[in-house]
Amino acid sequence: MGETSINFAKASSAALQDQQLRGNFRRAMDGLMSKRAVQFADTAEWNGVRTLGASVRLRALSKLPELLEKLEANCTKNGIQVHWASTTDEANAIVLSIMQRVNAKLVVKGKSMVSEEMHLNAFLEKHGIESLESDLGEYIVQLDEAMPSHIIMPAIHMNTKQIAHLFKQKIKEAEYTEDVAQLTDLARRVLRKKFATADVGISGVNMAVAETGTLCLVENEGNGRMSTTVPPVHIAVMGLEKVVEKLEDVPPVISLLTRSATAQPITTYVNMISSPRKEGEKDGPNEIHLVILDNGRSGIYADEELRNTLRCIRCGACMNHCPVYTKVGGHAYQAPYPGPIGSILMPQVEGLEKRGELPHACTMCNACVEICPVKIPIVEIMGRLRSEAVHPGDAVKGAGSHASKAEAMVWKGWSMTYASPLAYQFATALLAKLGNAAPASLPLLKEWTNVRSKPRFASRTLHALAREKGIPDV
């Protein structure tokens, strides 16, 4: 493992010790799972809309380059300025240059996972620009100087009491209260003041429609709407996979997205942004910029199997249903995208040297695959990445970086034994005789026996029993 590699095991170990955190996640995810189940109670409807959603995303990906060109052309025609960034550094630089041109000092942000991927807040701060998260969850996380722990509910790891303490500590005018309505109101008052004076608003994009040059944004709190309409300049950032072909592709995807994410049939706001303020219009920014980020995505696109990763509509359902995520929480992944989708996306975007542990943060139980509204074969991609991690190749950045001679030898020995009936029967007979003598302190066995009894080898194998009982061999 390289120096920069992220230690999932260590971080998850800390999370597991934290009973409060574990309780917060278990409760929250249980609630989300049961609410979602109600939304998709009709299996036939679920199968239908899911197939439709997956086909919208697949069709978009099948002609991605063409659709991106179309998107750029139509956005430009509508007066939206389109910028391309191949790395997060480039994307940050583009955002900064727009800010500097309009002399921006204060930015309000709607929720955007791509801006998390860019570490945009820290970058702007370094350049003397205050950037304020306006989504309540993001705002809480920002006050706490932490990372979001979930892509839909950034502050899901905290309970009301913890938030109450945080507000009291970080907001000047705050009185201590655990009343959720009062807390929300307090945040709203702080944010409203900032909206009025912000120079630039930043948002993410849930979908961009190629055919019409429209940016779609779903949200519940109205903060996204404020960030995209009140400040004179709006910058939207999106990953290049977020494009869909036609306007009619939007409804099925939104329906899957909101029901999978928060179990809502529809969100409070669905913003469709198609141009800056026109003559005679009462609101809207004078300038809209769209920054389209690659950051490794075109590499993912190039591989037919890995490409399926880009289908994701960022609903977070895979996290909610992941038994590993539910135990350790989002921060253990130390990535903007945690959980199953993060475990396949991060290694592809940032390379296997750094993120090669993530595809192993999974028991391959397939709960995520069962739930994913656009049918991403997450576990298969997970398996593929495990294989890339130990074999040199050029499909994924850092392929082969986790190759260990010892591990390779073990599997080689295993395959030689298991591929030869004679060797296999010899080895298993030996284990049946002597296996139980192995001390529990052996590596691997030690980890196993921390909470479990030692597995006991039977005195005779099934092969031996079948022979004795005269079960025919052919």
Binding site: A9, H360, C362, T363, S387, E447, N450, K469
Partner: protein, 261 residues
């Protein structure tokens, strides 16, 4: 599995087949070493239905451990070695959802582009999980001969999500008149075994199996029945390790005990 790799129940359901004269039994490597009595019980259940059971002595393992660890060439080598031992066109019955899933869902991908791809796919298409075969093909009817007992059922992830086996095992258990089946609150949740996951991430795995054990205890059941030896090794290991008075038992063995005394 469909071409895009995703699972839906309609993909999984096996086409109906006629009751065969003979079947192959694929024992799996865990059963072979740790639970041979479950394997024997599985074969006896089949024989009791008047089916001839063949156990090819050359078989070893479906290749899943290496496949899931990223060593696909090694997995291929082991999987390929199995192909020779199932030459007849009889069904291949497997007392483990996980190994059945590997053979029937992943072998086609594993062998893609290989000279023996067609042969591997042919073998894969004949694979059945044991309870699925007992219910769907043999349409068994069991008569319970044991004393009253309360049990619970743990659903293995691969049986339910790769093989589409969800109701079959419970339907079998419900045929037993003196057996009270109490369902787990989180029946579908993974027990934290995950092959090498349990040793690669022992703490997370321990937390997962801890939740599973608590769920089992809450039911007040005397035994937890499962169709997969990986899960069973993990769960009953944790039950024993925590000195809980609940035993873990493979469904084949449980059914055999209840029906043949």
């Amino acid at each position: 599995m469909s071409h895009d790799g995703t699972i839906s129940r309609t993909d999984i359901e096996r086409p109906a087949i006629e009751r065969p004269d003979s079947v192959y039994f694929f024992g799996t490597c865990l059963v072979d070493l740790f639970y041979p009595e479950a394997g024997m019980a599985g074969m006896e259940l089949l024989k009791a239905q008047g089916v001839r059971v063949v156990f090819p002595q050359g078989q070893s393992c479906c290749g899943q451990p290496a496949y899931n660890s990223g060593y696909r060439e090694e997995a291929l080598k082991v999987a390929r070695a199995q192909l020779d031992y199932f030459p007849g066109d009889w069904p291949i019955v497997v007392p483990s959802g996980s190994c059945a899933g590997m053979m029937s869902k992943h072998w086609p991908d594993l062998f893609k582009g290989e000279p023996d791809e067609a042969r591997a796919c042919q073998v894969a298409s004949r694979v059945w999980e044991l309870t699925q075969f007992l219910v769907q093909v043999l349409k068994v009817k069991f008569e319970d001969q044991g004393p009253p007992v309360k049990i619970t059922w743990h659903a293995s992830c691969h049986a339910q999500r790769e093989m589409g086996v969800t109701d079959e095992p419970k339907a079998l258990l419900r045929q037993l008149a003196n057996v009270e089946l109490v369902e787990l609150q989180r029946e579908k949740e993974c027990c934290g075994f995950g092959g090498t996951f349990a040793v690669r991430h022992p703490e997370i795995s321990a937390a997962m199996v801890g939740d599973k054990v608590a769920d089992i205890e809450n039911t007040g059941a005397k035994a937890v029945v499962s169709g997969d030896c990986g899960c069973l090794m993990n769960i009953s290991g944790a039950l024993e390790g925590g000195k809980k008075p609940v035993r873990g038992v493979h469904i084949a063995q449980f059914l055999k005990e209840r029906t043949h005394g």
